[in-house]
């Protein structure tokens, strides 16, 4: 299943005179974090399967600046943003799909003021579009048929940008049994990673946020906790491990579920 996949870069495309349909913005977690790399590959497989002509920036991609901005370092954020915008505008990028809601939010909402105007989609939105346009065919009733799945809303996809349905629409395609946590959609509880918390110890309290959230999810006894964010994935995975439920419950990105269901 996992031979290396072909991932063209913008530089290569330009050299061969080609113009991709969409730029796949991988993000730092998707590039470096071992768990998140699997999500990245799942997205790439889906893009290949749907015959989407895409490219990545590769070594020309840099952190969007999201964690710096949320932590209050506006200088660093804008430095990153302007460097990225220079590269993106240099390649005349029009359309971007991201593998992370934080990259999605930052490029979509915060880059325009700084001169970066693109059509930006989160990968769940893009995949949904592929299915809707008939470019990605789901056989339905794949591996996850009848499995109990609950979706954890990433803050920057859901509350941050009002997208609650795209990931759920995709999960429905799996013929799985979808079950919602009490705190879902606009009332979804954060996984605890946002606002640069991912990179530091939490302040003193009586519980970790990810434990609180994972307990809520595990209360539904799901076979899969689905997410749409590499950071949520880490937090929920840690939570499941903490509860020693790895055997019963997997934490997977929606893109992985789609790719796995189709045996990509």
């Amino acid at each position: 299943m996992s031979e290396p996949v072909k991932v063209p870069t913008m530089a290569e495309m330009l050299a061969s005179g080609e113009v991709p349909e969409v730029l796949f913005w991988v993000g730092c977690a998707g590039s470096f974090d071992d768990r998140a790399k699997k999500i990245t590959k799942a997205i790439v497989k889906i893009l290949h399967k749907a015959e989407v002509k895409f490219a990545v920036l590769g070594t020309e991609e840099g952190c969007t600046g999201d964690p710096a901005k949320r932590a209050g370092n506006e200088f660093l954020f804008q430095m990153q943003a302007m460097m990225n915008i220079q590269v993106l505008n240099g390649y005349e990028v029009k359309s971007i799909v991201t593998g992370c809601p934080h990259c999605f939010n930052t490029i979509k909402n915060e880059y325009p003021d700084l001169g970066g105007n693109y059509e930006v989609l989160h990968h769940t939105q893009f995949i949904r579009k592929l299915i809707k346009d008939g470019r990605l065919k789901m056989k339905g009733g794949g591996k996850f048929k009848g499995k109990r799945i609950t979706f954890h809303d990433p803050c920057y996809l859901g509350r941050g940008n009002g997208e609650y349905e795209a990931p759920r629409d995709l999960l429905e395609k799996l013929d799985a049994e979808l079950t919602e946590m009490r705190r879902c959609k606009s009332k979804g509880l954060c996984c605890g990673a946002g606002g640069a918390q991912m990179f530091k110890e939490a302040e003193p309290g009586n519980k970790e946020v990810n434990i609180e959230r994972t307990e809520e999810a595990l209360g539904l006894k799901p076979q899969v906790i689905a997410t749409g964010c590499p950071f949520c994935n880490t937090m929920m995975t840690d939570g499941v491990k903490n509860a020693e439920k790895e055997a019963e419950t997997a934490v997977m990105d929606v893109a992985e579920l789609i790719a796995n269901a189709e045996d990509l």
Partner: protein, 442 residues
């Protein structure tokens, strides 16, 4: 005009003048804040105000409390029509001046009475909830002392006002039955009418005294209450409207980009720029370079400050806050209450010592600690939950900006993260050159 009309006029004018005076102070305090433009998209703003303030759309997320609140809210707004009549009667010595409206008047009075009962019910429910209920957001530290007393005062006063209104109508109804010439046949009293038989044995003079006392208690109570609003969380009944009108209409995930940082970053990235050029002065205060981020109330925007005066202290934000739920010190409600308290303090300083007085205190440090600020996950749950579209998150981020950019005070792991981004373009210590390695891995 009798003596009582003159007394009424004096009381009324004094109350309105005192209220105006207080509101001007609040306006001045709000305008201490930095400018921010919220004048775009007026149609969308009106819609937001109609939906959130008038339509209470975010209150009913909690259906029971939402319904009770709508009783009080609708009751209060509608009974104000009655107050208008009372004011006219008070000034001109008339009695039930709107009575010639006939059936419409009967309908109005009847609906006021029913609403008054609903308000009473809701206030009693809310009191029980606060005294005996086990609702965490009403039991927290920031809701002890004055904020707690404030909440009780409001509910009790509303009970007294509604009680006075019904008492007044009951006595009036009893006098109408006796064909007292001053008490014209007017109104329909579905609630107070039930008490009229109980008053049958009372002397007319007692009834008149009761009716007058209740009348005065009702109107003086309302005028006092009007002047209580500006020092209370209850001021939200006024500010909820402008505050939702000036809501942030962007996606909640979008944070502001600081223009002055943009200017400086552009300079840094421009090879032709003069690196020794002086930083441009702040727009509204030439000569003093603007701070990066906020340390004190005047560094926040006027909208942040209006938010603080609009806060109902309901704690819905804190009840949804992941940091607070897991026992961290951060409470978004406290952020808003601190901002208001500090703003009031600065306002008092200005009154006493003039505009440029510096008391050596600041919002950051004396009111809000870095520990609270660093616990925030920027998840927007507080913003989403707030029934009057307040953003505690904007204040939190602005205070963080000050800590990081002016004082270089961030938790050491975050400083490490900043360095990584700066040096390798990723928050972890991986080499930029390895960014595409995942594609080669099986």
């Amino acid at each position: 005009m009798g003596i009582s009309n003159i007394v009424f006029l004096i009381v009324f004018v004094a109350a309105v003048a005192a209220f105006t005076y207080q509101v001007r102070k609040i306006r001045r305090n709000i305008l201490l804040g930095r400018d921010t433009d919220r004048s775009d998209r007026p149609a969308e703003r009106f819609k937001t105000m109609a939906r959130v303030a008038l339509g209470q759309s975010k209150m009913v997320v909690r259906p029971f409390a939402g319904l009770m609140h709508i009783f009080i809210y609708v009751g209060f707004v509608i009974i104000n029509i009655e107050v208008l009549e009372i004011i006219i009667d008070g000034i001109f010595g008339t009695h039930r001046v709107f009575a010639p409206l006939g059936p419409a008047y009967d309908f109005l009075i009847a609906s006021f009475e029913i609403l008054a009962v609903l308000v009473l019910v809701a206030c009693v429910v809310f009191l029980i909830r606060r005294y005996a209920g086990d609702i965490r957001r009403f039991r927290m530290k920031e809701l002890t002392g004055w904020p707690k007393t404030d909440a009780y005062i409001i509910l009790w006063v509303e009970i007294i006002l509604m009680g006075a209104f019904l008492t007044m109508n009951a006595a009036d109804g009893a006098l109408q039955v006796r064909n007292d010439p001053h008490y014209v046949q007017a109104g329909s009293f579905p609630v107070s009418g039930l008490f009229v038989p109980l008053l049958a044995n009372l002397d007319s003079s007692v009834l008149i005294a009761t009716e007058r006392t209740a009348w005065w208690a009702h109107i003086v109570g309302i005028l006092l209450f009007l002047n209580y609003l500006p020092i209370s969380k209850h001021f939200h009944i006024i500010l909820a409207f402008p505050n939702t009108y000036f809501s942030n209409l962007n996606d909640q995930g979008k944070f502001t980009n600081m223009n002055r940082v943009t200017d400086e970053v552009k300079l840094m990235m421009d090879p032709d720029a003069d690196p020794y050029a002086a930083p441009p002065p702040a727009e509204d205060n030439p000569g003093v370079p603007e701070k990066f981020g906020a340390k004190d109330v005047p560094d926040l925007t006027w909208k942040n400050l209006m938010d603080a005066y609009s806060c109902t202290e309901c704690g819905r934000c804190t009840a949804e806050c992941p940091a607070n739920i897991t026992g961290k010190k951060l409470s978004p409600r406290k952020i808003m209450m601190d901002t208001r308290d500090r703003m009031e303090e600065i306002g008092k300083n200005i009154d006493k010592h003039g505009k440029d007085y510096d008391d050596g205190k600041s919002l950051l440090g004396d009111y809000i600690t870095p520990e609270e600020l660093w616990a925030c996950t920027t998840c927007n749950a507080c913003v989403q939950a707030c029934p009057v579209n307040i953003s505690p998150l904007e204040i939190i981020v602005d205070l963080r900006r000050y800590l990081v950019m002016e004082e270089s005070k961030s938790p050491s792991e975050l400083t490490g993260m900043f360095n990584n981004i700066e040096n390798n373009g990723a928050p972890w210590a991986f080499a930029q050159a390895d960014r595409l390695k995942w594609a080669e891995e099986a």
